[in-house]
């Protein structure tokens, strides 16, 4: 089984979000970048397939040179090879086309992406990639088992879950639940040393249209202070008469 894990390089969840250049750009000053949490769940599952079922695991990012430490981290966690498509990931359709070119060339069976990236929250790349490569697609995936060419996957739905049978080639939108929290791997010294010599291929982008473009960003207006209720009666009164939500 050949697996490709799509890694988006995102600000750490605790980052302060600021913008520069008249609010047209995300300010990366002082921001720590990490593997997108949803991708980390996917990568961990992929490494399980490598260890238990002999899968090969490649990781890929569409982005500039600054994302290489994130790819090296994925290699240190256990991926075999990394690919970076050297271009700015400015639009989901454009990114999905870059990934699709690699998927077609590398004939991967399973492509694992995240449900959404926590920066732009597009939630679009995995589905677009599935459609562009004529693969099956399971989003919000919380379990996947592979037996020969049979795949059983479970996805989270509003209010519960749903189990699906499907087949390769398959794109997953991974999320929390796909692996146990305790199984998330922190790279150890040996992994980090090995990662230095694992291949990281840099490829040029293919031509593809950009269908959308961000014009500018805004920050929410500052919030007023909390109103503290001295008693439960007062709270009910506030929720009924002032907030009008009960």
């Amino acid at each position: 089984m050949k697996i490709l894990v799509c890694i988006s390089h995102v600000p750490d969840t605790t980052s302060k979000i600021n913008f520069t250049e008249e609010d047209t750009r995300f300010d990366t000053n002082g921001v720590q970048f990490v593997i997108n949490p949803n991708d980390e769940y996917g990568l961990t599952r992929a490494i399980w397939f490598k260890e238990k079922q002999g899968a090969t695991v490649h990781v890929i990012n569409v982005g500039g040179q600054e994302t290489e430490p994130t790819l090296r981290k994925a290699l240190a966690i256990g991926a075999d090879e990394a690919i970076r498509i050297n271009t700015k990931p400015t639009d989901s359709f454009y990114v999905a086309n870059q990934l699709a070119a690699v998927v077609k060339e590398g004939s991967y069976d399973l492509i694992i992406a995240g449900r959404e990236s926590i920066d732009y929250n597009g939630g679009a790349v995995p589905g677009m990639l599935a459609k562009l490569t004529e693969s099956n697609f399971v989003n919000t995936c919380i379990s996947i088992e592979v037996e020969g060419d049979k795949v059983i996957a479970t996805r989270e739905i509003d209010g519960g879950k749903e189990t699906l049978s499907t087949s390769f080639p398959l794109v997953l939108g991974a999320q929390k639940g796909l692996v146990q929290e305790a199984d998330l791997k922190i790279p150890n010294m040996r992994g980090i040393m090995q990662a230095r010599t694992k291949p990281l291929h840099v490829k040029e982008a293919v031509n593809a249209p950009q269908l959308t473009q961000i014009v500018n960003f805004e920050k929410p207006a500052p919030k007023g202070a909390v109103k503290l209720a001295g008693s439960v009666d007062e709270l009910i009164d506030l929720l009924h008469n002032e907030a009008k939500v009960i």
Partner: protein, 321 residues
């Protein structure tokens, strides 16, 4: 034409479907055109007229009884092509987020999800959405002839706009490839309000000490007709099911009222619940960060406050019934 997909469950439209139609009507008015709704295996399609749809394409097909992202995306894109849609509106349930990117590729449409308001401008076409897990907004320009918009829950609201509505049966061509992925079982509690559909969500954190103490959370939720939710560590420790975990890495919450009990208000938790209109915090630590993000709060011990609140709310409900 503006096309809107209207999601239903067991034949009944979801509230988000009416919200999507309201929004579609808002856009259609700006563009000087009309709204066509697409409904799959739904009853009572004429109710869509109340929110501004002037035509409903009604699909009845047993193969579509279970949601199937690929097939549903095919249905909506064929409807959009038939109607010459300029704009296609969906809402942001898990199912619609699943089919959105497939639909976008089918229609070669630019797609923006988590949209919170009518377009800032239609020429060029620019819409505002939440990004960075509700920590910011982005205005995005769509450069394609067909635009696909995913509307955030509870952001635009319901707007009545009584319109005469015609219904037309619609039989799209489905490809067998769409059914390569098949549902084999569904595990869903049918007697509980889901976090996605709920107007009120009652959520508990590590401050509740253990799963045995969730009875009071469920009682409070029951009085309010609310869904129950929890913070990440609570689901990680197995006190509550994963499906209740809300926040940046869990489910998003965009309810009218969110009540956080024994939750500190970590940035990753707030990121996922901030879209709720009114936030209430109950915490015994006045320094808990949630107090900075909440609208109302009580500083107190959850084990005293919550049972009291439930009792008083019962009395309040009885009086206001």
């Amino acid at each position: 034409m503006v096309i809107v997909y209207t999601e239903s469950e067991n034949g009944k439209f979801k509230k988000t479907a009416f919200e999507a139609v309201s929004y579609a009507k808002g856009i259609a008015d700006k563009l000087g055109t009309q709204v066509t709704a697409v409904a799959i295996n739904s009853n009572d399609v004429s109710s869509l007229g109340k929110y501004g749809a002037s035509k409903v394409l009604q699909v009845s097909n047993e193969q579509l009884n279970n949601f199937n992202a690929a097939a549903y995306a095919d249905v909506v894109s064929q409807a959009a092509k038939k109607e010459n849609a300029q704009v296609v509106i969906i809402s942001s349930s898990a199912n619609e987020k699943y089919m959105a990117p497939l639909l976008a590729v089918n229609l070669e449409a630019g797609y923006v999800g988590n949209v919170i308001s009518l377009p800032e401008s239609t020429e060029p076409f620019q819409v505002k959405s939440t990004v960075f897990s509700n920590k910011a907004f982005a205005v995005t320009q769509l450069n394609t002839p067909v635009k696909l918009i995913g509307l955030s829950k509870n952001a635009y609201g319901l707007h009545e706009n009584e319109t005469a509505v015609t219904t037309e049966a619609f039989s799209p061509q489905l490809s067998q490839d769409d059914f390569n992925t098949k549902v084999i079982s569904v595990d869903k509690s049918t007697d509980k309000v889901t976090i996605a559909d709920a107007d009120i969500v009652v959520s508990g954190g590590r401050g509740l000490k253990g799963p045995e103490n969730w009875g009071m959370i469920e009682e409070l939720a029951e009085v309010l007709g609310a869904a129950t939710a929890c913070s990440k560590p609570v689901s990680d420790m197995g006190w509550r099911p994963h499906s209740e975990h809300v926040g940046q890495t869990g489910k998003p919450v965009a309810s009218n009222l969110y009540i956080a009990i024994g939750i500190s208000g970590a940035i990753q938790h707030l990121a996922g619940v901030n879209a709720s209109k009114v936030k209430v915090v109950i915490n015994n630590d006045p320094e808990a960060p949630f107090f900075k993000a909440a609208d109302y709060g009580i500083v107190g011990d959850a084990f005293e406050v919550v049972p009291q609140l439930t009792e008083k709310l019962k009395a309040f409900k009885a009086q206001n019934a």
